[in-house]
Structures are given as C-alpha cells and as structure tokens.
Amino acid sequence: MSSRIWSIDLEKADELFNALAAGQRLYLPIEQAGQVQFKEYDPADSKQKVRLDALNTVRSAKDLFFPQSENMAAFKREGKKIEIIDNRERVSPFAIFGVRACDARSFEILDRVFLSEPVDVSYADRRENGTVITLACNEPEETCFCEAFGIDAAEPGGDISAWIADGKIWWQPITARGEALTEALADVLTNAEPDDEKLVMQKKQIREIIAQLPLHELSLESFQPERLKEIFDSPKWQELSEACIGCGTCTFVCPTCQCYDIRDYDTGNGVQRYRCWDSCMYSDFVMMAHGNPRTSQVERFRQRFMHKLVYYPANNEGVYSCVGCGRCLAKCPSSMNIVKVAKAIGGEANV
C-alpha cells in the first residue's frame, strides 16, 4: 500500500467530483426519488443530490460491473439469411466513488466467478476500465456484519481508499490504477500526513462502533464444506422457508449474487439476445427442457444460502459469498435473512 495520502476539504467535494468527472465517467451515490443509487454524476446538473452520508445504496455497486440487463447480440433476418450483430456494450473508463468496504470485497468474489476461465468478456472489460474509490463507513448500522468476513470498514480498500474525517475527504491510492488517477488530480488534492491524528481517531472510532453492533460476534464457523450433507439435510430449512414469499429482493440487492439468465426478445423485426440477473428464489430458475430441478420454495430458499455459505466456499478456498452489507436484512419483505438462517442452521456454534 502506498503510504502517500492526500486530502481535500469536504466543502470542496464538488471540485473533486468535477475533476474526476472531467477525465472519465463518474458514478456517485445520488438520491433518486427518495432512494440512493450509484448514478452517473453530471457536473452541469445542480439538482443532483450526492449522498455521501447514505451507508448503503439500495442496489449494490456490482451494477456498474455486472448490470441487471445487458445486450449480447442481435439477430436480423432477411429472406433466408440471418445476420448476427454483436451489440455488446464496450465501456470507456469510469470511476465510482463512495463504495463501501463490503461492496469493494464483493468485487473479489465476483472476480473469482467471472474472471476465471472462460473469462466473461463484458465483466472483464468493465473491471479493466473501472476505478473503485471506496469510502470508510463513519456510521455503520445494526444490520452490518462485514466483520464476520474479516472486512475492516475503517480500511475500505479498492483502488483508492477515502475517509471523511475532520471536515475533509482523505484520499489514499492503493493500486497502480489508483496512483495514476491520483496524479491526474494533483491540482485539487493537497498532501497530507498518513498518520494524521484526526484520521487515526476516525478509524479508531469506526472500529469502536463496529464492536458495539449487535451482529459483530456473528460466527459462520460451522458452515464447513465437510458438513455439506448435514447442513443440506437440516430440518430447519422447512420452517425458515415458510416466511419466504419467493420474490427476488434479496438476490437483486445482493452485491455477490451472480446468477443470470440469457433470454431472447422478439422485437417484431428480429431478435435481441440479452442477459439479465436471475434469482434462485424464482420458480423458473435454472429451468431446463425437462423442467425444473427445484420444485418447491424450500429447495429454492435453501439453494441461496447453501450457495453463499457452503458451495461457494467449497470451491473458493473457504471464501464465503457474502460480505455482510446487510441489504437483505433491511429489505426482505418477510424479514427472513442470512443472519437468521446462519444462526438457526449453524447450530450451537453460533449462539
């Protein structure tokens, strides 16, 4: 990690954003009709409400790398000839500011899926062109449990880490890409001390708050690949899944859910092939010619948590496919979530 660090007054945040937006597209947490989302920042639009105070955006930062719906190819027919048009989007460089530590970790989890062979071209293209600027969480909430995955909200990571402390935004490049971007901002950023008292205090404060959160001692120790069969057969799934209404909220707000469906849309004069997020909670998830392998909600419900806590770690050196962002805790219509499941299924080890 680079030991160099910069800062800029929080009041001058606009200057920083404008400078960033001058070099590439910039995405910020912006309020839209009452909800905060990562949206493209437009320096000319004075009505935009940038919300650096919002802890989590409703949709996670994964949207920028793995959008909900994207075109793959179009087919056009003329007579007996079918023309295949590659209309995948090629992105230009972009930066995303305000990613929380949990979302930043989610990219590593997605990378293991999309960047392993065969590489997902669209995802790789976006990863190569995207610079991630994280922001430490000054006010974590009760739904946060990133600590359970070894994430330190006070050291958020990414290409560049940022903090808000003492009325300033602190800026520390971490990767070569982060260094390059920082150089382009020499005019707006001022040099600062890495061990500035105010910054150190802020980090300490964040860790103190995290230690007070109700879920900070959540343990996932018992979710070991060796216990796969035992966990799979647990009688608890039935009662836990009773509350599940089979919607896709948890999967669509999740920063690590990665399943997608490839579909064709008949435009009336050709076909548009696209891919869009899929949800294991849906009745037609992994529908095949013979039908669907999971015919009941309890099986679909179990799939989601087995994937996150057992299957994924079994294939990825024990890394869980959850980052503890707490979105599903806040958004589930029935308030059924991964923490309740982990505590119920994980057995005594978690109590």
Binding site: E139, E239, A243, G248, V339, K340
Partner: protein, 311 residues
C-alpha cells in the same frame, strides 16, 4: 398488545390448549426487535418465539393460500385491515374457509422501520413506547420520535379509524400536467428492480402462473430490459387487481426501492368509486366486484378525455 384486554399470545396458547386448530399462523420474534417474520406454529412450546407488537405489519392472509391447502385446521391472526384481504380471498375461492379459524386481533398502528431510518436514526438497538412517544436506543445515543410520524403508510389512513384522506396524493398527481405525471412516474418506476416483491406479497395476486413468468406470453422477463417494461409490469399488475385490491398497502411496504405503488391502486379505487359507486373490496365475502358487473347506463370511456385534471 392485547385483544379484548387479553394478550394475543394467550389467545394463541388457548388455541392449542383447547385443540381449536392444529397450526397457528402468526409472527415470530426476529434477530432485532423490529424484524418479526410471519411463521407457522404447530405446537404450544413453539409459541415461546411468538410475538405480536408494533412490528407485525405483514398481512398474513396471502400465506393462507398455501397453508390452508395443507392438512389440518389452521388458525390465523388477522389485524382488522388483514380481514379485508381474507374475505376477498375467500370470495375468490383461494382459501378453503372450512379449514381456517380466523382470529381477529386488535391493532393500534404498525411502525415502519424504514420511516424511523429516514429520520436519520441509525444503528437502532431497541425501541420503547410511551403513548405516542417512541424512545429509540441506538449505538449513536438515544433518539426520540412520535409514533404517528413513523406509522406504516397503510396505518396512516386506517380503514377502521377515521384516518387521513387516502386519495389526497392521488388528487395531487391528477392535477399535474400530463408531462409532469409522466416524469413523476418515470422517476419512480425507473427505480424498479423487478424483484416481484409487490406481486408476491399481494393478497390479490394469487395466479398459479403469472403472465410475467410465462415464457409463452411474450412479455415474461426477469429484469426491466426497457423502460417500457417498467411501466407495463406495474400497469398490468394494478389492472389485474383492479376491483379486487383491498388497499392493504403491502406493495408499498415491501418495495425495496420505496416506489409508492399503492398510489396506482388507489387511483383505480378512486375511479371505480367515482364511476360505479363506492365499493370496498373484501368488505364481505360474496358481493360482485365492479369489473365483473355492469350497468346499462355506465359512463362512456370518453369521460377520461373530457373530465378535469391536468392535461
């Protein structure tokens, strides 16, 4: 909370003690104090986790479609507003009434935790109530707010209490110009992530296979791949529940993006009331709904063109 001065939990215990039903559909205590989940209890000792407090906003009627079809009688706890959905489902033959023991329980308004959060109250540890005043303990210190301010939307215009005017916002939108209305809905509906929570929670949406899940329908999709699909989904959904929607407000409660979906349903209800006479879906379990009946002298469709409202 109590019903006829008896704690609801006691009523539940009595159901098992007197063998009135084999299972009880109620709410289970959550991880925090505000995230109670709907749950089925099948034995008296399971009732330890039973809870009924100001965070039991979810409407249990829809769960009966699945639960009442199972063997054995099921008791269900219905808040006054949930009763409407229950009646409507019985009317539509989606619930076998004989297999259900409906228990009406009192309710003095449910709290919307998102509204508490919207007040800037973060890191909530506990909430205690003293009359209308809520005291909230958070990791950032103690906060206060009035319960009236953080009530669920459906409770603010409660059908059983003289609440506010539920059509006020609908009227406001009607008065906008057509372009403003279009922009209002674009900015709201473009947030839609097509999670289907509004549909799956809706007690009026009980189709075995939804048209939006049916690949043969030509409009099935799992994402909004075009802005048109955002509008189509919500228009068709509102239309399909038109005349059957009891205005239970679950769609707006569950929307992760906070889209005021209830406004679409209320617009429909308001129109139905104005054009075809006052009607409350679910007020009873046998009357004929406004879109499955007609009068010889109904208004003509051009009333839409000729009446007031913004253009």
């Amino acid at each position: 909370m109590q019903t006829n001065n008896r704690p609801v939990k006691e009523i539940a215990q009595e159901i098992f003690a007197e063998n009135q039903a084999e299972r009880i559909l109620g709410w289970k205590r959550g991880e925090f104090f505000y995230d109670n989940s709907p749950a089925v209890f099948s034995a008296a000792d399971e009732l330890q986790e039973f809870v009924y407090d100001a965070f039991c906003g979810s409407n249990l009627s829809k769960f009966l479609v699945k639960e009442a079809a199972k063997e054995g009688r099921i008791a269900v706890l219905l808040k006054p507003c949930d009763r409407y959905s229950f009646n409507q489902l019985v009317k539509e033959h989606r619930i076998d009434k004989e297999n259900v023991l409906p228990i009406e329980i009192d309710c003095d308004g449910m709290v919307d935790i998102d509204k508490v959060r919207a007040l800037g109250i973060k890191g909530i540890k506990s909430i205690s109530a003293d009359g209308d005043q809520l005291t909230i303990e958070t990791v950032y210190g103690q906060k206060n707010c009035s319960k009236e301010d953080v009530l669920l939307l459906k409770c603010q215009t409660c059908k059983d209490r003289t609440g506010g005017d539920r059509f006020a916002l609908v009227r406001e939108i009607e008065e906008m110009s057509s372009v403003e209305r279009y922009e209002f809905w674009r900015s709201e509906l473009s947030k839609c992530i097509r999670c289907n929570a509004c549909r799956n929670v809706c007690p009026a949406c009980t189709c075995e296979k939804c048209v939006f899940d049916n690949d043969k329908s030509g409009i099935a999709n799992k994402a909004n791949s075009d802005s048109f699909e955002e509008s189509l989904y919500h228009m068709i959904r509102a239309f399909h529940v038109a005349g059957r929607c009891t205005d239970c407000g679950e769609c707006s409660r569950v929307c992760p993006q906070g889209i005021p979906l209830h406004l679409i349903n209320r617009k429909v209800i308001k129109d139905l009331n104005e054009f075809y006479g006052e009607y409350q879906a679910g007020a009873d379990d046998s009357s004929v709904g406004p879109l499955t009946s007609y009068e010889l002298d109904d208004v003509e469709p051009d009333i839409v063109m000729n009446r007031g409202g913004g253009r």
